[in-house]
Symmetry: C2
Subunit: 197 residues, 2 copies
């Protein structure tokens, strides 16, 4: 069973950025780093059944996708600054192209955009490809299946053009309150953990 | 209805610390800052019905308690560095004593310890004073009441001496997997949100 999280950062940096201003100059890199932490970290352990794709669409060289794979990733700590350092290293790989270039163990980078990524990792949308939105099916009633792919936006949410790519996806809700991306992931991981027992 | 979160940082700094090394030198200040974020932040909104107490017990001058009150707090952003800056400012207030000294809007600081804090904010433990631990009652079956107080540890959990102060508390579990403090808070907030609808 694999849990895949695709997280869109519409304003998030695609080149070198300062670790001292993740929220401002790096276009909410802080939010994406906390989302990575929520996807992977247990107390004193890591979820090895998780893969995260960060879709970065801010300046200077959009698009970029950073892929972080639980089975192989090493030397990642849960603080924002550490995760941001790993993402920054990936963005500084030379000659990034639409294929996957290796940055560090378990971390790859590509110049593909959201459409190309979805064609690759979610070519057949259905109940197990889940778009989290406030007006969807309550998660408690949603069949999620064994291998689940979740798509989440940043603080602005996906654009209409991005939403148009999600035809056939299962729209699932965590309730009427709108949560931060990392908190959504924590709730989703708990929901799946509870079902697996 | 108020949600109160008491979070213990057994190694967390009680004096000036560097914002560039929250995880190491500041004794997992990163973890406590993410916990504060999870307690307060909604997407584009703050939970005004939340109060957080950070019980800081690391060097150089333990104990310290920093109180952050949702109804009054201002200028708090969800990134670790911003929250850490507010906590650091509180720890640098002059002449901190067992009473509450004001640091900034909604943020107070005290030299009281965990026992004195619990005597003040949870003098009558019962179903609504909740200690989150893996072997407790599953949260779905736990009556939580209207005003709920949660106690959570840091990455090491409470010490045996601290646990001894929790007689009469309601031990509640989020499942068999052990989560980071901030992820526990995200799950708990979602659980209460769901009940309130």
């Amino acid at each position: 069973m694999t849990r895949t999280f695709i997280i869109i950062g519409n304003k998030t940096a695609t080149g070198k950025f300062s670790l001292d201003d993740l929220s401002g100059a790096a276009g909410r890199m802080d939010l994406l780093c906390r989302a990575v932490g929520a996807a992977f970290f247990l107390s004193h352990d890591m979820r090895r059944d998780v893969i995260v794709y960060l879709v970065l669409l801010g300046p200077p060289t959009p698009p970029r996708v950073v892929r972080i794979a639980g089975p192989e990733v090493r030397n990642m700590n849960p603080d924002e600054r550490n995760i941001a350092g790993l993402v920054r290293k990936a963005l500084m790989v030379e000659d990034i192209d639409p294929g996957w270039s290796k940055s560090s163990p378990g971390i790859l980078v590509s110049s593909k955009g959201l459409k190309e990524l979805l064609d690759e990792v979610a070519p057949s949308p259905g109940p197990s490809t889940v778009y989290l939105r406030e007006d969807g099916t309550p998660i408690g009633k949603a069949p999620l299946g064994k291998d689940v792919t979740f798509l989440l936006g940043d603080h602005m949410g996906p654009t209409p053009e991005q939403e148009a790519l999600l035809k056939g996806w299962n729209t699932v809700s965590l309730g009427k309150k709108s949560y931060h991306t990392d908190h959504c992931i924590a709730v989703v991981n708990h929901e799946i953990d509870t079902r697996e027992i």
